[in-house]
Amino acid sequence: MNYAIETTGLHYRAGTTFELGDLDLRVPTGSIYGFLGPNGSGKTTTIRLCLGLLRAARGTIRVLGHAIPAETHRMFARVGYVPERPHLYPTLTVREALDYHGAFHPRWDAAGATGLLRTFGLAADTRINRLSKGENGKLLMLLALAQRPDLLVLDEPTDGLDPVVRRDVLMAVIEFVSESGATVFVSSHLVHELERICDWVGVMDRGRLVAEVPMHSFKNGIKRLRVRNAPAQAGDMPFVLLARERADGASGTEVWVVRGWQPTMHQYFEGIGAVLQDVVDLDLEEGFVELLRTARSPREG
C-alpha cells in the first residue's frame, strides 16, 4: 500500500507537559483519513510536524514521498492545508488573497477558484478582516481546493462553523475528492462529521495513536453486548473487551463493549456458560469514547 503520509517513530516534546511518543502514522494514498482525538491529544501537533511547521526530536516523516522537513517547500506545491486558526493577510480583499495564493501555487485553478467563490457565496471585494468566522473558513477551504492538491490536510476545518457552512465546506471537499481522487487527512473532534465522509480513522489520545483502522472495521467491529450470567473470569476471548459493566435494572446482566466482533463469536458465550442476549451496533462516537476509555485504563478479560 502507498501512503500519502507516513511517520516512523516520531517523537516530539513540548515543555514538560506534552509529549508525542513514537508515532507511526500511515495515511493510505487516496483515502479520506479522519484523525480523531479529544482536545489536547496531539492532533494539531502531529499535523504541524508532518507539514514541517514543527521539528521532531526524532523519527522520520514522508509526505507524498517528500522527506520532511528537508523537502517541505516541494511538498507544499502538492499539499493544501487548512489550519485550525485563520492566518490570511487582513489588508487583502478576497480576490487579492486568491491572486496572491495563486501566484505561488503552480497548479492553481483560477476558474475553479472563481466557481468556488460563487458556491460559497463569498464577495470578491470584501476585505479579509471584515469576513465572519464562517466566511474565513470557507475562504481557507477555497484556497486549499483551488491549489488542486494531491493531499488536503484539514485541521478542525469546521470547528465553530454553523451547520449550513459546515455542510457547504464538507460538500466541497467530497466533490473535490470525487473529481481528483486526492487524499484527505482531516482532524476533528466532531466524530459524527467524520463518520459520514471518512474511510480510514486514526485515534489520538494523550500524544499516542491508539488506533488506526479502516472506518468500516472501526464502526462494524465495535459492539455493545448484553450478556447474562457471565463468570467473573471469562477466559480467552476471541474479541477485545473494551468495557464491562453491570446493566441497570437487571440482576446478573452485564453490558460488554467489545472490538473485533464477528457474528460467529456468539459461540464463545455458550462455552463459558453465559447467554448473549443482544448485540448492538455502536456509532463512531460511542466507539470512539469506548476506545479512549480502554486506552486510558486497559482491561483484561
Binding site: 507539514l51 514541517g52 511547521l53 517541505t72 517547500h73 516541494r74 511538498m75 507544499f76 506545491a77 499539499v79 492545508y81 489550519p83 486558526r85 485563520p86 492566518h87 490570511l88 493577510y89 487582513p90 489588508t91 487583502l92 487579492e96 491572486d99 496572491y100 501566484a103 505561488f104 501555487h105 503552480p106
Partner: protein, 220 residues
Amino acid sequence: MFRAVCRLQWKASFTAVALIAVAGFIVPLLAVQRAGFAVGDRRAWDLVTMLAAVESAGSLFQILAIMLGLTLSVSAWSADHQGDHVYALTLPVPRWYYVLLRFGAGVVLILPVTLAVGLGCALAIQGIDLPAGLRSYGTAITLRFALAALVAYAATFALAAGTKRTAALILGSLVAVFAISELLAMVGVGQGLLTTLMVGIFARPGPFEILAGPWTLIGV
C-alpha cells in the same frame, strides 16, 4: 510572484508610505523657504544663519528615512506574526526565497518615496539664485536618503522578522547595556560607554554612518 508580494506590501503600508512621500516632497521646499533662499531680498539674511536653517531642516530627512525603513519592515511582518507565520511557512517556496521576496518588496517601496524626495529637492532648488561659493546637493541628498532608508529598512527588517522572543532578547540586551553604562558612570568607571557604543555604531565607517552627520541641501 514578486508582483503579488509587492502588492501585499503596498496594501499593508501604503498610507504610511504615502504620508512619508508627501513629507519627503515638502521637506526640501520648506527647508529652502524657511532659510530664505527663495526670497528675493537676500541682504536681510546672514548666509551662515541661512545655511544653519537648511541644515537644521535636513535632519528631517534622517527621521523620514528611519521612519520609512521602520514602517516597511514592521508592515512586512506584522500580519505574519499575527498568524504565527503559518501562511508564509506553508507556501511552496524555500524560506530564504520568501524572505528575499518580502525584503525586495520593501525595497521597491523605497523608490517612490525617494522619487518624491528627489522631486521636492529639484523643485526647491530650481529657480533660486545661489550666492557664489554655495552649491545645491539635491541629487546627493536624494541618493543618500535612498541609501539611509535602505539601511534602516534592512536593519529593522532583520529585527522585525524575528520572533517576539528575539525582539525581547535584543531589547533586553539594549536595556542591559544602558543600565551597565549608567552604573559604571555613577561610580566613575567607564564613562561614556553608551556614547562609545553609539559612536561605534553610527560614526565609524560602516553602514549606519549614512544615518548620522549633517544633511545639507545647500552648502559650500
